[in-house]
C-alpha cells in the first residue's frame, strides 16, 4: 500500500500510521505535535546552499518490503555489503519500510544489548526510547525538516549498549530501498551507557535514478561517561533521492565518538554531522569523504562543539568533485567559554576533476575561551601534475595514477570503516563514481 503525502500533512494519516504500529501514546503525541510545528517552522539554511526548493515532501510514505528468510536469498548487490567468510551475527536489514532481517549474537542479547528496528523498539523498550528519542541530541523543533522527520518517521534502528559492556564485533544495518518512490525517514538511535564500547556501521542504498523521492535521516548517538562509539556509514542513495541527513553525537566525560562517513549519494544532499563534547576530556573524531558527480549539489557541515574541559575535536573532510557537481564543505570547531585546554583541529580538502565542478571549503573556528589550541587547513585544487609525473615515471599510466591518487585522497575514511565488506563496497562505489 502506498500513500502519497504532501503538505499540509494530515493529522488523520499520522494517527492511523501510529496506531498501525501500536506505538505508545507519547510517540503518537510527539508525531502530532511535530506535524503541527512542521507547518510553521522554517527550512534549515545550510551555508551557501539554498535548499528551499528541494523535494522533501513528494514521496510514498509507507511501502512494504519483504521479509528475508535467508541471507542467501539477497540479491548480489546487497550480499556485497556482508562479510562472506563468516556469517554476520549482528545484522539488521530493512527492505523499504519493513524490518526484513534481524540477528543479534545470543551472548550480547544476554548482556542486555538491544539491537532492533525502531518500531519494535517503540513497542518493547518504549521507556528507554522515550528517554533519548529527540530529547538530548536533536530537537523536534530545530527546523521544518526535523519536525517533518519526527512527524513521519517510518523506519530506523535502536541500539542500546548497557553499562560496562564492550562489544568487539561490529553491528551492521542495511537500509535497502528498491521501491522507486519510497521515502526513507529513518531514525537511528544509539545509546552507549557508561564504560561501554561499540562499533556500528550502516549502509543506505536505493536505485531510483529517475523517480523522485527523498530521505530525511536523523541519527542520534549518546555516549555516556567513558563510553566509546565508533560509527561508520556509507550513504549511497540514487540520483532521484534528495537527502537531508542529520547525524549528531553527545559525548559525556571521557567519552569518545568516532565518525567515518562515506557520502556517496548521487542526488542533492544536505548533510550535517555535529558532535557535542559535553563532558570533560571527551573526544570527537569526525571523518567524511565525498564523491560528487553529474549535476548534483551537496552541502556538508561537520561541526564539533566543545563544552567540556580538555575536550579534543578533530574534523577531516575530503571531497572529490567531477562533472558539473558542486560541493560545499563547512568545517566548524566551536569552543565554548569554560572549555579550557580544549583542542579543535580541522582539515577540509577538495579535489576537482573537471573545470565545471565547484568545490568550496570553509574552515570556521569559533572560540570563546583563551586557554585552548586550535588549527585548520583547507584547500581546493586539482590533481597535482608533479604527483602524476612522479607516478607515471614508474610506468603507471595516467588514468591509473589518477585513480591511485583519488583513492589515496579518500583513504582516511575508507580505511577506518569497521567491516571489511563495507570497506570494499565503498572502494567499489568510489571506483564507479570517479571513472
Amino acid at each position: 500500500m502506498a500513500v502519497e503525502v504532501s503538505l499540509p500533512y494530515d493529522k488523520q494519516y499520522v494517527t492511523e500510521y501510529s496506531n498501525k504500529h501500536n506505538e505508545p501514546a507519547w510517540m503518537k503525541e510527539l508525531r502530532l505535535s511535530a506535524l503541527e510545528k512542521s507547518e510553521s517552522l522554517p527550512m534549515p539554511k545550510p551555508d551557501k546552499t539554498n535548499i528551499e526548493k528541494w523535494n522533501f515532501t513528494e514521496f510514498s510514505h509507507d511501502v512494504e518490503g519483504s521479509i528475508i528468510d535467508s541471507l542467501d536469498n539477497l540479491p548480489p548487490e546487497i550480499q556485497d555489503f556482508l562479510d562472506q567468510e563468516k556469517k554476520p551475527e549482528n545484522l539488521l536489514i530493512q527492505h523499504n519500510h519493513t524490518a526484513a532481517y534481524s540477528a543479534l549474537n545470543k551472548e550480547l542479547e544476554d548482556k542486555g544489548v538491544i539491537f532492533t528496528d525502531i518500531h519494535t523498539a517503540l513497542r518493547d523498550h518504549a521507556d528507554l526510547v522515550k528517554e533519548y528519542y529527540m530529547t538530548e541530541a536533536v530537537a523536534v523543533d530545530e527546523h521544518r525538516l526535523t519536525a517533518l522527520h519526527a512527524a513521519l518517521m517510518n523506519s530506523g534502528v535502536f541500539l542500546y549498549v548497557p553499562k560496562d559492556v564492550t562489544i568487539e564485533q561490529p553491528l551492521q544495518s542495511i537500509f535497502w530501498q528498491d521501491d522507486d518512490r519510497a521515502s526513507l525517514i529513518n531514525h537511528v538511535l544509539v545509546v552507549a551507557e557508561q564504560n561501554s564500547s561499540v562499533t556500528y556501521v550502516e549502509n543506505y542504498i536505493s536505485h531510483n535514478t529517475e523517480a523522485q523521492t527523498s530521505a530525511n535521516i536523523v541519527t542520534e548517538v549518546i555516549a555516556k561517561d567513558n563510553a566509546k562509539v565508533s560509527f561508520g556509514a556509507v550513504d549511497n542513495f540514487a540520483a532521484g533521492t534528495t537527502v537531508y541527513s542529520n547525524r549528531r553525537g553527545m559525548a559525556g566525560r571521557d567519552a569518545r565518538i568516532e565518525w567515518a562517513l562515506g557520502q556517496m549519494n548521487e542526488g542533492n544532499t544536505a548533510a550535517e554531522n555535529i558532535t557535542h563534547l559535553v563532558g570533560d576530556n571527551s573526544e570527537g573524531d569526525a571523518k567524511m569523504v565525498v564523491v560528487g558527480r553529474g549535476s548534483q549539489k551537496q552541502n556538508f557541515t561537520t561541526n564539533i562543539r566543545h563544552f567540556g574541559k580538555e575536550s579534543d575535536g578533530y574534523i577531516l573532510q575530503h571531497g572529490v568533485m567531477k562533472d558539473k557537481s558542486s560541493g560545499i564543505f563547512n568545517g566548524i570547531g566551536k569552543i565554548d567559554r569554560g572549555a579550557t585546554k580544549s583542542n579543535a583541529e580541522q582539515e577540509s580538502r577538495v579535489l576537482m576533476l573537471s573545470k565545471d565542478a565547484r568545490g568550496d571549503a570553509n574552515p570556521i573556528l569559533l572560540i570563546d575561551e583563551d586557554d585552548v589550541t586550535a588549527g585548520h587547513a583547507a584547500s581546493v585544487g586539482r590533481v597535482d601534475p608533479v604527483q602524476l609525473y612522479y607516478m607515471m615515471s614508474r610506468g603507471i599510466p595516467k588514468k591509473e595514477a589518477e585513480r591511485l591518487i583519488i583513492h589515496g585522497f579518500l583513504a582516511p575514511v575508507v580505511n577506518q570503516l569497521p567491516v571489511e565488506a563495507v570497506k570494499n563496497q565503498l572502494r567499489q562505489v568510489i571506483e564507479r563514481k570517479v571513472n
Partner: protein
C-alpha cells in the same frame, strides 16, 4: 644485444621561456655507468627531467632516442615502460597510497593483463631488496614518501629502481643529504644492478659518491652543455682541484645558465 642505448642529440630545453640546456650530446649504452658532474645551476637536473618528460620542461630542439625510438613522442609512462627510470631529487609524497601498492602497480604496468606479479613473489622480492638497502620493513605499508626523511626518500627511490629493473636509469643527486653510511648503502644497491645490460647516468656535484660507484665515463656540465668528458680520473681531479681549471681551460668566466 647488450642492453639498451640512450642517445641524447643536440638537446635544447626551456623552462618557462628560459633556455637551460643548449645542445647536450650524450650516449649511454647498456653495461655503462656515466657520471654527469658540475657546479649548481649548470643544467644537470634539467637534463634528467627532460629525458623523463617532466611537464614543466619543454624540449625546443634536438632528439632523445632509446634504441632508436623517439622518446620525445612518448608519454611519461611510455618512457618508463620502454625502459627508462629516473630516481628523483625531490620525490613526490602521495597520501593514502602505500609504498607497497605503488610499487606493485609500477611492476604490473610492465606486465600483460592476467600476468600480474603474484603477491607472494612481490613481497619476497621487495623484502630482499629492502634488506639490501637496510630499510625498515614497515616502510612498505607507509604512504608513499609521506613524512619520509630525506635519507628514507633516497633509499626508497633506489628500492623502486631495484624492483622495477629498468634498462637505463638516471639518478638525480641521489647522494644529496645522505650521511656516509647511507651513501654506502645506496651505492651498494646501485652496484647490485650492475651487469652488461644495465646502463646508468649518475648526476652529482660531489665526487664522493663516485668513490663507491666507479663510472666508466665522467662528463662535466657548464652553461647547459657538456664541456668536458673523461674517465674516472677526471672525477678524481675535480675532487682535488675543483672546477676552476676547466673554466680556465675553456675560457668560461661564469659556469651557470644565462651567463655569457
Amino acid at each position: 644485444m647488450a642492453g639498451s642505448t640512450l642517445e641524447i642529440k643536440d638537446l635544447h630545453v626551456e623552462i618557462e621561456g628560459l633556455e637551460i640546456l643548449k645542445g647536450v650530446n650524450l650516449t649511454i649504452n647498456g653495461g655503462e655507468f656515466h657520471a654527469v658532474m658540475g657546479p649548481n645551476g649548470t643544467g644537470k637536473s634539467t637534463l634528467a627531467s627532460a629525458v623523463m618528460g617532466h611537464p614543466k620542461y619543454e624540449v625546443t630542439q634536438g632528439e632523445i632516442l632509446l634504441d632508436g625510438e623517439n622518446v620525445l613522442e612518448m608519454e611519461v609512462d611510455e618512457r618508463a615502460q620502454a625502459g627508462l627510470f629516473l630516481a628523483m631529487q625531490y620525490p613526490s609524497e602521495i597520501s593514502g597510497v602505500t609504498n607497497s601498492d605503488f610499487l606493485r602497480s609500477a611492476i604490473n604496468s610492465r606486465r600483460e593483463e592476467g600476468d600480474e606479479i603474484s603477491l607472494m613473489k612481490f613481497i619476497k622480492q621487495m623484502d630482499a631488496k629492502m634488506d639490501t638497502l637496510d630499510i625498515d620493513k614497515n616502510m612498505a605499508q607507509r604512504y608513499l614518501n609521506e613524512g619520509f626523511s630525506g635519507g628514507e626518500k633516497k633509499r626508497n627511490e633506489i628500492l623502486q629502481l631495484m624492483n622495477i629493473e629498468p634498462s637505463i636509469a638516471i639518478l638525480d643527486e641521489i647522494d644529496s643529504g645522505l650521511d656516509i653510511d647511507a651513501l654506502k648503502v645506496v651505492a651498494k644497491g646501485i652496484n647490485e644492478m650492475r651487469d652488461d645490460k644495465f646502463g646508468c647516468l649518475i648526476i652529482t656535484h660531489y665526487q664522493r659518491l663516485l668513490n663507491y660507484i666507479t663510472p666508466d665515463q665522467v662528463h662535466v656540465m657548464m652553461q647547459g652543455r657538456i664541456v668536458k668528458t673523461g674517465g674516472p680520473e677526471l672525477a678524481q681531479r675535480l675532487e682535488e682541484e675543483g672546477y676552476d681549471w676547466i673554466k680556465e681551460e675553456l675560457g668560461i668566466e661564469d659556469e651557470t645558465i644565462g651567463a655569457k
